[in-house]
Amino acid sequence: MDSQTPADAPSFVAWSGGVAELCNVVERLLPVAAALGAADPMPHPWHGALFGKLRPQVSREPLLVAAVCGGTNTGKSLITNTLVGAAISRSVPEAARTVHPVASLARGVAERVDLAELFPGFQPVPWRSDADALDLGAGDVLVWREDPGGTQPPRLVMLDTPDIDGTLRENWHRAELVRHAADVIVAVLTQQKYNDAAVRDFFAQAATAGKTVMVVFNMVDWPRQRERIAGWLGTFTTETGVAPAAVYAVPHDFAAAESGTIVIHPLPELTPDGGSMGLAERLSAGDFDRIKWRAMEGAMRVVIDPATGLSSWLDGIDRAAAGWRDAQHLLEREGRVRVELPAAPRQLVWDEVWRWLEPRRSGIDLMVSAGYRAVGQGVSWMARRVGLARSSAERQEDFAHAELEALKRALADFIDRLDGACRLDARLAAQLGPRLAAADRAAWYADLERRHASLPLVSDGYRSFVRNELDRFAETNPGMVKAVLTGLTVGSVVRPVMTLALFSAGAAAMPAAAGVLHHVLDFGVTVAAPLAGEGAVAVAAQGIRPLIERLFAGWTADRGRILAETLHDVVLGGGVDEIATLASSSSRPEMIRARQLLVELSRESA
């Protein structure tokens, strides 16, 4: 690719289309990665290369961006002003005063080019005075000015940038954004700063991204330190991997700096081509297309690098998603609560069956039954009077109390388990922890109480469920209808037990009553496997047993549903659904497409 320029490359259109699509896909993945807790891509060089360099420039008039970069108070503004030939950025004795980049453009560029797109992350603001870079307030602002002299080459953009090592870290960030966008970096170094770690880091990344670097040693004790410069430069290039295209020195001259008339000496002995062309001339006369293409190619190399490029970020997403899958499994294991409800008043189910039976019974049968019922009522009235029995209403009230207690115990157990799971897994702690910690738990119990209070002992849903079950049973077993009653009286002593689980654990966990559970399966919280009837209905005929089990299981599931609803609506919110989504992130179409595009682009770049 380096033998071709973008203009005559036959695959350029496809290549630039690939870059644009890759950007779109990555942008769609950003919120996914953030939700997964995967690494923030912003500080990674590939992100800057892709969004700061490749995207802004694949589809528009190629401009050559040259940025003057360096540490605090090394004289960046002074050198920029000298190169531009005008005081676009004020040079002051205090350090770290240039807080916004200032761009000098050739005439007419601002009209033709959208600067916000050329410099992603910045808000372009037209230049008013040389103090703009010092005090335009917060926010990432880029000040631009068109060259008033008209001498600036039409495709050259010159920038003065904030420092890369000061106490205002926003400045570092802005300098990095400018570095991504730049093709040429003018590295301003001093004898105090050429080996500072922050400075090294900055320029090493410029070298990795294929930027053309010109080195200017400023504040040199000229000519005494001239012979020192080779040593300094040696350290700098070894440390950063920068291969400078040219090297210059600016003598330390306070008066010249004050008057803005510094001299930039070429150092041909350190410049690879041995030329002594001035810095401004070199920038103007540079082989724009070659430099530009080199920067683009360098940027692409950064993006497709398997170890540090975009694919490493995608791997990070995969790893994070795998972590979420583990978290999901943990939650599935931990978030499983056995709820032991009190035995239902047998009358409840019995009454429903009675209602169903009524129209199907003969006159005599009914009369006898009514007689028995009257006698039975008399006996129970007596029993109540002497305190041996409770009335039906009292029994239902007792049941409601006991049931609410059981549900509350289950909810408390569930919350305990969630707390425990959050302690075991940092991801769950991040996803559910804030909700569990910040919420007013008393409100959760109030919600459960409210739902419980408004749930009739026999709901319409359960009523129709019983009818359907009995209808179906009567169709297949016409002779066994009476046995149902016997079975019910025995079956009702079963203590209903159900398991409340986060996520559906598959059919195995949902035996007998699976049919009635469809209405809660829409949630992340499921009610599964009510009824533990070990031998409880053994006396009933085998054929009836499943029916009775289903009738009671259905009733229990109907009761347990309110707990599932409280858990889903109030306690967990969308948290559990969100975890399920995150756990399946690896298989998102964007992930697959991003990897395909990377393969295609690296093939083209090879």
């Binding site: 605090t72 770690a197 115990r409 919350i415 707390d419 910690a437 007013d440």
Partner: protein
């Protein structure tokens, strides 16, 4: 100018600092830190104290030792040149040939100063003796720079590069703990360096500082802007010196007088760091450090203060809720056991009524009636107490069952504990400081036994009092004898009528004897009359009973029955709250002492981590 002040004016301890107050403060802080609850924020404070305490102890014991002044600053700021100028000769390599210049720290001390206590090996330092008057009574350390080692959090340390092996910052971090005072050297290019600011912020607490702008002959005067920058980082900056080390070294070599800037610096070192002043500096530094520590501690815990307060409020309101549930249940049981009350009070009253036919009648009836109830007392613990039984060991060991029987369902208790554990999580409290919603088996055993015990004691006392009160109403002799009179009236009437019939009707008027038929009839009437009167006695007993039961139940809160069920939360909130309160008190004390401290040209880090800490957080 503070440096030119007469140092003789500040020699006494009283002027410097109240030594006893400081010692007391350190002891109190130590006790306070050790008494911390097992609470994560407190653990952090303890860890911090482990670092601070040895320094405070050292300050208490090594008052007389010479001060160690660490010269710190970015590479190329002329630290070594300045050290050479102060030492009066080339004791450490300086220059512009390579960066970094100083790899290993150089310790400069006068020939007669004992430095055996300095961990030179651990510091990787080289000792150089000097005869210069400027270092006659201080120890000077030329420190490595912090800014040439790869940045903290640097992704990969590339050992193939020379800088990959640069450990200057690590070395610096080994040297600085030994320093009492920091001399921060900077230049126009470096005074806003992030990495230098970060390192200084980490070591400045409790270490007075001298600020020196070097390269005075080359750089513009940046002292005003540097002061602004330092103040924004939380430093007090009384003075910044401006010197040129190269110039000073040259002058010293050629026997010339040093220039004004360098002279000022040397004078300040003599005035502020030598002799009695050294004691003051050490003491002031120590007090500053103590104040710094309390500020850090308060900041670390302060965020949890509202949550801890909310937990306390939660404990109170949940206690009220459980008490409400329990009170309602107990009231219902007490109301529901009217017969038992009646029997209890009635029996008690009757037991004290002796002599008289009505009393005899009551004794007989209650002996018969009590048979049934004693066989089958209902209402759990309350019922048993009303039936005159006591709280048995079996009841205490019945655990949840006994508590539920009392009227406090375990679901409600778990709800309460679940709500409180939410509040506790917000306050940073988890196991083992507080338990879970469901009490562990052994905790539950102890808690329920205490609940049953307390409830039993409270109820037994309450019922006894209530019975005694009722008895006073009903058991008075006038009531007794009124009833006896009423009962005896019928008996006398019946006997009188029988006597009249026999003596007057039969013997006098000669009517036939009516037989015992009349007596049989009369006995029925006497028994019925007896029951009517018995009912009246019990009506008296019952009158006002509801109000008395209400009064009894209202006293539930005072009995602290439900407390054991949530004791862990109450204790955690209480201990964290009072611990923070004590921390506040000690913090104010430390601030007061620090405000009294005498300062001069020495700067200090005044504000806590909120501002200065950005260097630490930014590096994470």
């Amino acid at each position: 100018m503070t440096t030119h002040r007469d140092t003789d004016a500040v020699p006494t301890f009283a002027h410097e600092l109240d030594a006893a107050s400081f010692d007391l403060l350190v002891e109190n802080l130590d006790r306070w830190v050790r008494s911390a609850p097992a609470w994560p924020p407190a653990r952090g404070v303890q860890a911090e104290w482990d670092g601070v305490r040895p320094r405070l102890e050292a300050a208490r014991h090594d008052l007389a030792r010479v001060l160690v002044v660490g010269v710190v600053g970015g590479t190329g700021t002329g630290k070594s040149t300045l050290v050479n100028a102060l030492a009066g000769g080339e004791v450490t390599a300086a220059g512009d040939v390579a960066r970094p210049t100083t790899i290993n720290p150089v310790v400069v001390a006068a020939r007669d100063v004992d430095v055996s206590w300095l961990p030179l090996d651990a510091m990787g330092a080289r000792l150089v003796r000097s005869d210069s008057p400027a270092v006659a009574t201080i120890v000077l350390v030329d420190c490595p720079d912090p800014d040439t080692q790869d940045l903290p959090g640097h992704p990969v340390v590339d050992t193939s590069r020379p800088s990959g092996g640069n450990r200057n910052r690590d070395l610096l971090e080994a040297v600085l703990p030994a320093c009492d005072v920091l001399l921060l050297a900077s230049t126009a290019q470096k005074y806003r360096s992030w990495i230098v600011a970060r390192e200084v912020a980490a070591f400045a607490p409790g270490r007075p500082l001298l600020f020196v702008q070097t390269h005075a002959s080359r750089d513009p005067d940046i002292r005003a802007d540097w002061r602004k920058e330092l103040e924004s980082q939380g430093f007090d900056v009384p003075r910044i010196f401006r010197v040129d080390g190269v110039d000073a070294a040259e002058r010293a070599a050629s026997g010339l007088e040093p220039d004004a800037g360098f002279r000022d610096l040397v004078a300040a070192i003599n005035d502020e760091l030598v002799g009695r002043a050294a004691r003051r500096v050490r003491r002031t530094g120590a007090v500053d450090l103590a104040a710094w520590f309390t500020r850090q501690a308060r900041e670390a815990c302060g965020g949890f203060q509202p949550a801890v307060a909310a937990l306390s409020v939660g404990v109170t309101s949940e206690t009220r809720r459980l008490e409400g549930i329990l009170a309602k249940a107990i009231r219902e049981t007490l109301h529901g056991n009217r017969a038992a009350w009646q029997r209890l009070i009635g029996d008690d009253v009757v037991a004290r009524w002796h002599g008289g036919p009505f009393a005899a009648f009551l004794h007989v009836t209650s002996a018969l009636a009590s048979l049934w109830s004693r066989i089958r007392p209902t209402g759990g613990l309350v019922g048993r107490l009303l039936a005159g039984q006591s709280v048995t060991a079996a009841a205490r060991e019945a655990g949840w069952h006994a508590v539920e029987e009392l009227g406090l369902p375990s679901g409600e208790i778990e709800q309460t504990r679940s709500v409180l554990s939410g509040l506790a999580v917000r306050a940073g409290m988890t196991e083992p400081l507080v338990g879970r919603s469901r009490l562990s088996v052994d905790r539950a055993e102890a808690a329920t036994a205490t609940v049953v015990d307390r409830a039993g004691r409270w109820l037994a006392t309450g019922i006894d009092q209530l019975v005694a009160q009722r008895r006073r109403h009903v058991g008075q002799p006038i009531v007794h004898w009124t009833f006896e009179a009423l009962f005896s009236g019928l008996v006398i009437t019946v006997l009188g009528r029988a006597g009249w019939n026999f003596f007057y009707g039969n013997l006098w008027e000669g009517r036939p004897v009516s037989g015992i038929g009349f007596l049989e009839e009369a006995i029925v009437w006497v028994i019925l009359w007896g029951f009517a009167l018995r009912w009246a006695v019990f009506a008296l007993v019952r009158r006002g009973l509801d109000r008395d039961i209400r009064g009894l139940v209202d006293s539930l809160a005072a009995s602290r029955v439900v407390e054991p069920l949530i004791a862990d939360f109450a204790a955690a909130a209480e201990s964290a709250g009072s611990w923070m309160g004590e921390g506040d008190r000690l913090g104010s004390e430390a601030e007061r002492l620090a405000a009294d401290g005498d300062r001069s040209a020495l700067g200090r880090l005044r504000r806590a981590a909120s501002e200065a800490g950005r260097f630490n957080t930014a590096s994470a």
